[in-house]
């Protein structure tokens, strides 16, 4: 520790350079945080999909509806523990440009749906209030915050597909509860209301649902149970396709396609370019001081001690810059995603914080090590003569 002052005065020597190098490292690690968050955003749902949940959709496409009568038939299939359904509402809140992009609004069976998704955490009183109110709506934390809603608000939504029987387009709901996610990756953007109320009040389409969610007893038996469900409806007007929740989420992630991959590659390239530039400056500032290192050696500093001094300097820059960058990145990501709410999940996963910390250490070592080794090998007479 007694050399801290020496390290500090070396860093202070070119204040501007040290400062800018530090800021470059900060920026690089802020980017790294965004890279990690973008990765989870594009894989939204895949990582937190329930292993024991299957989704039964129309065989041709998920947009084709299924009869609500399938519920009882699916429930009777051996291996199925619970079944519920959900549908696509596709309404607009306020105006089409800002309203409800990326918010899934689903008419559901309240109790069965919450039992199906235990990762939706909701206070008992709000849960009861939502179940009791036919016009009640339960929304995720992220959506509630995005629109500044609180429990008790009345929320008007413009229908694009389903009008009410009286021909009006406006559906009004009472906000009865706000749910949080058990995992960071849990989708807390949903807008959930009563299917019974919806089905009764809509102008057309009575008795159809969008898709079924099925819980099975044995997560290892997904293929068998799925095949049994699909066999039930073979050769009917509405044949089904049952896949695991994970597979369905994965196919959506794949639908976004290489755009997601390309953005991630770009971010990664940027991160390493910035590190290269910062590292180059750090290494250069040590190279410039070759003669001083020779003086230190003349004074009796051992090779190892000189190596440690140089490393301490680069490690300080890397740790301070990288730490600040990761912290700033985490804060910025926590404040919201840069698309203004279009990405349902956007957070900085813990595992990537660890990766970031490892990269900080590697940066400190690599940028310091090459010039430090050169300094260690330095022959005093050569170095002094060169200066």
């Amino acid at each position: 520790m007694k050399y801290a002052a020496l390290v500090w005065s070396n860093l202070k020597r070119h204040k501007a350079r040290t400062f800018f190098t530090l800021l470059s490292i900060v920026v690089a690690f802020v980017l790294f945080a965004y890279l990690a968050a973008a990765r989870v955003a594009f894989r939204a749902g895949v990582d937190v999909a329930g292993a024991d949940r299957l989704l039964t959709t129309h065989k041709v496409s998920i947009i084709q509806p299924l009869p609500s009568g399938y519920r009882e038939k699916i429930a009777a299939v051996p291996g199925v523990v619970a079944v519920t359904h959900s549908s696509w509402f596709g309404g607009i809140y306020q105006n089409p440009n800002t309203g409800f992009q990326g918010v899934f609004q689903n008419p559901v069976e309240p109790e069965a749906y919450l039992a199906m998704y235990p990762e939706f955490l909701i206070p008992e009183a709000e849960k009861r209030a939502w179940i009791a109110d036919r016009e009640g709506v339960l929304v995720g934390r992220k959506t509630a915050e995005r629109y500044g809603w609180k429990v008790g608000d009345r929320v008007p939504v413009q229908a694009t597909i389903y009008r009410k029987k009286d021909g009006t387009k406006t559906w009004e709901f009472n906000l009865r509860g706000i749910y949080d996610g058990r995992e960071k990756g849990t989708d807390t953007t949903q807008f959930l209301f009563h299917y019974d109320y919806f089905d009764e009040a809509r102008q057309w389409g009575q008795g159809i649902v969008g898709w079924y969610v099925v819980r099975i007893a044995d997560p290892a038996a997904t293929a068998e149970v799925g095949a049994r469900i699909d066999a039930l409806f073979e050769n009917s007007p509405s044949e089904t396709k049952t896949v695991t929740e994970k597979a369905l989420m994965q196919s959506f992630a794949d639908q976004i396609g290489d755009i997601g991959a390309i953005i991630q590659w770009i971010l990664a390239a940027v991160f390493f370019t910035l590190l290269l530039v910062a590292g180059n400056t750090m290494a250069q500032s040590v190279r410039e001081r070759t003669s001083e290192l020779a003086v230190l050696k003349t004074l009796g500093f051992s090779d190892l001690r000189v190596l440690a001094l140089v490393l301490a300097e680069s490690a300080t820059l890397a740790v301070v810059g990288g730490g600040l960058g990761l912290a700033l990145g985490a804060a910025a990501i926590g404040a919201g995603d840069p698309t203004g709410g279009f990405l349902p999940v956007f957070y900085f996963p813990e595992s990537d914080v660890v990766v970031g910390a490892v990269l900080v250490v590697i940066l400190g070592l690599v940028t310091g090590l090459l010039p430090a080794l050169a300094a260690k090998r330095l022959r005093i007479v050569d170095a002094l003569r060169r200066a």
Binding site: H14, F20, Y34, S61, T160, P237, Q255, A269
Partner: protein, 403 residues
């Protein structure tokens, strides 16, 4: 005048020494060039995704066409139009008439827009591919559509035309393929291009064949009409919106497609601009460091020049010129890299507004290249300014002694 020419010659002299000594500062200068190249490449590449996507949508919207959907519908996908309104729309004033299949009829095509699952070539996982059911006037309302192989489908048969974009991105859609959706089997009888427009991502068939297959009875989703002239739009729109038998909204086709793709654009712009901005900040710091060390290494030279009577203005310009040169090099390199790697790159993604796949090519436009270069120049100026001022303010005597 004399003062000006002498100042200019000073600038030229100092700048040329500065530029000629760049190779001595190879490492740092290269780092700056690559840093700025990276920023510009990312900036251009990310925006080229948005450009390409918009171009595909723009190519689809013709000012000669109007689109009718049920009022309140956000996209084709959400709309429903029942059978009897179709004829009212076709007969409305402002609709062009033309010869289709030997008869002169209103150029009005009632259409269905549904989704079928088809495997993506790149991943093998299923994707939502749009399937459009059309009426005979559809080809007259989209004159840009050309058959690239095979033939058009025959009306009343389970035959399909496949857009070139869809054929490239999804497996099993080649000429002659037989496809099974639900209980119906379809044969691919031809492929088409549409001048890069959105329809190249779609499959087309006869709407009347699609209706029973999708249990749509006699309903459609949208009607596309060819207007007698672009100016006839208002007449057409007023006639429909004031008709008590109808409950529809009328849009110019160009307006409809201009509004599509909001979600994707927001994601690309949001992430792209955040990343570009962060990178720009990082690159400016890199440039600042390089230019400060360039000034430091030229301390003795600058002091000597000042002692000889060179003005501080000339010194400032020389440092800025060096920074600009590096930035321009970086900008050109970055813009070229973005163009070489990304221009014309074909991909497909989910258009959230219609919940279906759209295929398009990245488009590195000349405007983007210019913007990228301007961006690079701005970075160079910002990165060069402070070091230039430092160089100008070096006290001559101290600087000579220090060296």
């Amino acid at each position: 005048m004399r003062a000006l020419t002498s100042w200019l010659s000073q600038v030229a002299a100092v700048t040329s020494t500065a530029v000629r000594t760049i190779p001595e500062r190879r490492g740092a200068s290269l780092a700056t060039v690559f840093g700025i190249a990276g920023v510009v490449a990312v900036f251009v590449a990310v925006l080229s995704i948005g450009e390409g996507f918009r171009k595909t949508l723009r190519a689809a919207g013709s000012p000669d066409n109007a689109m009718v959907m049920r009022s309140g519908s956000d996209s084709e996908m959400m709309s429903v139009l029942v059978g009897n309104s179709i004829e009212i729309i076709a007969q409305a004033p402002g609709v062009a008439r033309g010869e289709v299949g030997g008869a002169v009829i209103p150029l009005s095509s009632a259409e269905l827009f549904v989704i079928v699952d088809a495997p993506k070539r790149s991943t093998g996982t299923t994707a939502n591919v749009p399937l459009r059911g059309v009426q005979p006037a559809a080809f007259a309302t989209r004159p840009g559509l050309e058959i690239t192989s095979g033939r058009r489908f025959e009306w009343g048969k389970n035959e399909i035309l496949v857009g070139d974009g869809a054929r490239r991105q999804f497996a099993g859609l080649d000429l002659g393929s037989r496809l099974r959706w639900g209980r119906n089997e379809w044969t691919v009888v031809g492929t088409f291009s549409a001048g890069g427009a959105l329809w190249e991502s779609e499959l087309w068939t006869d709407a009347r064949v699609l209706q029973p297959a999708y249990q749509r009875g006699n309903s459609f989703q949208t009607v596309i009409v060819r207007l007698a002239s672009p100016a006839a739009f208002d007449t057409f729109k007023d006639a429909l919106t004031t008709d008590p038998r109808l409950d529809v909204q009328v849009l110019r086709e160009s307006e409809y497609y201009g509004n599509q793709g909001r979600t994707l654009n927001a994601i690309i712009r949001g992430l792209g601009l955040t990343v570009s901005l962060l990178m720009a900040v990082g690159a400016v710091f890199g440039a600042l460091n390089t230019m400060y060390s360039a000034v430091a290494s030229r301390t003795r030279e600058v002091a000597t020049l000042r002692a000889l009577g060179f003005g501080s203005g000339a010194v400032v310009v020389s440092v800025l010129a060096e920074a600009l040169l590096l930035a321009l090099l970086g900008g050109a390199l970055g813009a070229f890299a973005a163009w070489a790697f990304f221009d014309g790159y074909r991909t497909s993604t989910l258009n959230w507004d219609t919940f279906s796949q759209v295929t398009f090519a990245f488009d590195v436009t000349p405007a983007l290249l210019v913007q990228g270069t301007v961006f690079a120049i701005a970075l160079g100026l910002v990165g060069g300014l402070l070091p230039a001022l430092r160089a100008a303010r070096l006290p001559v005597t101290a600087a000579l002694r220090e060296a």
